[in-house]
Amino acid sequence: MTAQEVRLCGLLLQEHFGNVVEKVGTHLIRSGVLNLRALAHETKLPLDLVKKSLCVLVQHGMCTFGAGRRGPAGPVEYRINCEHVFHMLRYPRYIYTAKSLYGDTGELIVEEILQRGQMTMSSTVKTVADRLTHNMPEGQSMDYSEVVSVFSQLVETHFLQRCPPLASAGSSSSGAVDTPLPVATQPTEPENHPDCYKLPYINLTGQGKRRRSSEDGEADQLRYYDCDDDCGDDGIYWQVNFQRFHLHFRDQAIISAVSCKLDQSSSEIVRTMLRMSEVTTPAHAAFTQALSANEIFRALLSSYNIARPILDQYLSLLVDDPMEFVGKTGDSGGGMYVVNLHRALANLARATLESVVQERFGSRSARIFRLLLRKRHLEQKQVEDFAMIPAKEAKDMLYKLLSENLVQLQEIPKTPDYAPSRTFYLYTVNQLPTARLLLQNCYKTVGNLIERRLYETKENKRLLEKSQRIEAILASLQATGAEAAQLTEVEEMITVPERQQLESLRHHINKLDSSENQVDETIFLLKSYINSTQASH
């Protein structure tokens, strides 16, 4: 784990779970694998707090545990899954995607499961139904069956999956072979479980309850205790399938890239192709299953209004495009076409790198960068000639890119002693290491954004608390019907300059939050590209 990744993990854990979990989590990331006693000793926290933190982390799937180096007889060892911590940055995007695909119900289901880590189906359905009922007008309530149907849809399309079962650690089951805990280094993949996407049969009928004023504010907690009325799915927990969401985001990125580069109709064709091969393509495949043009034509929605010969023209356009989104693999059935997933990701990553260079160093530096990407190795003179930039400026830009490590220098000696007079110095750009470098920069950026937001909030803490208190007073006054004079009197407790300060603070925090979301999109793209290159090896 790089220093920036550890820092970002710490900030994210602190934001969601508090300082204690942050301390435990960061220490565990830095140490790799630890057992409970060692962790408590090294963090100098009370053992109970460490236990609680580990429970929270395991519940959310960020920490895995298993038999340690001493085997099943030794203490259990824990390790943090950093990727999972970074997913916390992307929670709004997951929830928004669920909303766009499955409406408000889907949105609330995914939000509940994300916030609680793992949940049984029955408790999810009840909680979501109650929340939906809460927002409905008086007298209406949400039926459980509707929520169950949306839940089933989410499971069928693999957005939700069952949590993998644990091998029982030396349990007392008579006659059964004592299966030891899996070694901490190899967590069980949820997909290996055959029932991963099987819905349990639960008998759950009823409707969401509206929260009455007589219920106390701990209704949520109580629900954990009285949810033991057995609905038939005890012990079956569901979690969000992040990989599926990532595949969806990847498809969205490809489709929007096609629509930007070509036009709307070609993006619709690519969307259809991706939709058809959603279930048949494995997660790390380099390209989708081959689809014939006849199949694509049949699967195209009639609303797109694309005739058969037009479809063929579009397909040949897509194949000839230098971005190589679509490839032709055969001629049967009117032509067999695939979407080149890994190549598309590589091109998207390349476009990201080029745009970064352009925005930071100007368009001429970007021209040099693109040139080097295309031509691999060039001498300084050649760079000046090909880029058509005067020598002095080209040299300046090259050195600047070199100092930022975006461009590397390759020495090719003519003689065994690397004498400068007899060595070629070639400039080159390697896409993969540059992508990794930018990814680390992105992590650092998000860390800086979060720290700045915390700083801004801390500076204005008093003002924020005062405004919260005033708003609460106002809300309660309005609820019990007070006169306008009282309301204005309360409102005036915040002075005008304070109001302005609050306004600018809100504006800054919104901007910082929005930036985090946007940087996260770049992180996703670069990470997908890096993972795709590793998968193909």
């Binding site: 707090l49 609680k52 429970c55 916030q115 109580l222 012990g235 927990y237 007079s421 946007q518």
Partner: protein
């Protein structure tokens, strides 16, 4: 190294002007200080995306952040008792204790060594629940009267714990009524819970530039 001087004499693969300084010029000055922390930017950054989707995700993010502070997963270390045990401690809000966990995980999915006592909700609350169902009408009447008398003090105390929800869908009704009811009936005392405030929080907040006078 020293040998083969004769061949390929002074044939550099790069011309000297390409290096940036002519023959005999002094080398460019070396840096004596680290590069500035905030170097002036040559190009301004591109403005952020805007749009409905972006705004919705922003609202989602802020709402998630606020609500995660209220979940039992947000762990805080218990405050160590400072000096003397006080009578009011009995009536303080149940502070988190280190050896209890506030939610009940499925222990069969966790290693046995992590098992920790689950904090049951206060007996008074469960005991108060049947009372609440019997007394809502009585409480409602009492509520109205008492509210008008002590509304402001009460809500200031209970709503300091509320968080702002920016998400458009979930508009929270003020929890004042619920907190008030529970606190009133808890432990069957005649006093409001804030009566037992032992003043330890006084002066703990920042006191610089307080506009309101303190009596």
């Amino acid at each position: 190294m020293a040998g083969s001087r004769g061949r390929g004499r002074s044939q550099f693969s790069f011309s000297v002007d390409a290096l940036g300084f002519g023959r005999g010029d002094s080398l460019p000055s070396s840096a004596h200080t680290p590069s500035p922390l905030y170097p002036p930017m040559q190009f301004r950054p591109v403005p952020l995306h805007t749009g409905e989707e972006v705004d919705y995700m922003l609202a989602l993010k802020q709402e998630l952040r606020a609500s995660s502070k209220n979940l039992p997963f947000h762990i805080q270390a218990a405050r160590t008792k400072t000096d003397v045990a006080r009578y009011s401690d009995k009536y303080q809000n149940g502070e988190t204790k280190n050896n209890c966990i506030e939610w009940s995980p499925d222990w069969s999915r966790m290693p046995k060594e992590l098992c920790i006592k689950v904090r049951k909700p206060r007996k008074t609350v469960i005991g108060a629940k049947p009372q609440l169902t019997r007394k809502p009408k009585v409480a409602a009447g009492k509520e109205e009267a008492l509210q008008k008398l002590e509304k402001r003090e009460e809500e200031q105390h209970s709503e300091e714990e509320e968080d702002e929800e920016k998400k458009k869908q979930n508009e929270e009704e003020p929890d004042a009524d619920e907190d008030y009811d529970e606190e009133e009936l808890e432990d069957e005392t005649d006093y409001i819970m804030s009566y037992f405030d032992n003043g330890e929080d006084f002066g703990a907040d920042s006191e610089d530039n307080m506009d309101e006078a303190v009596y």
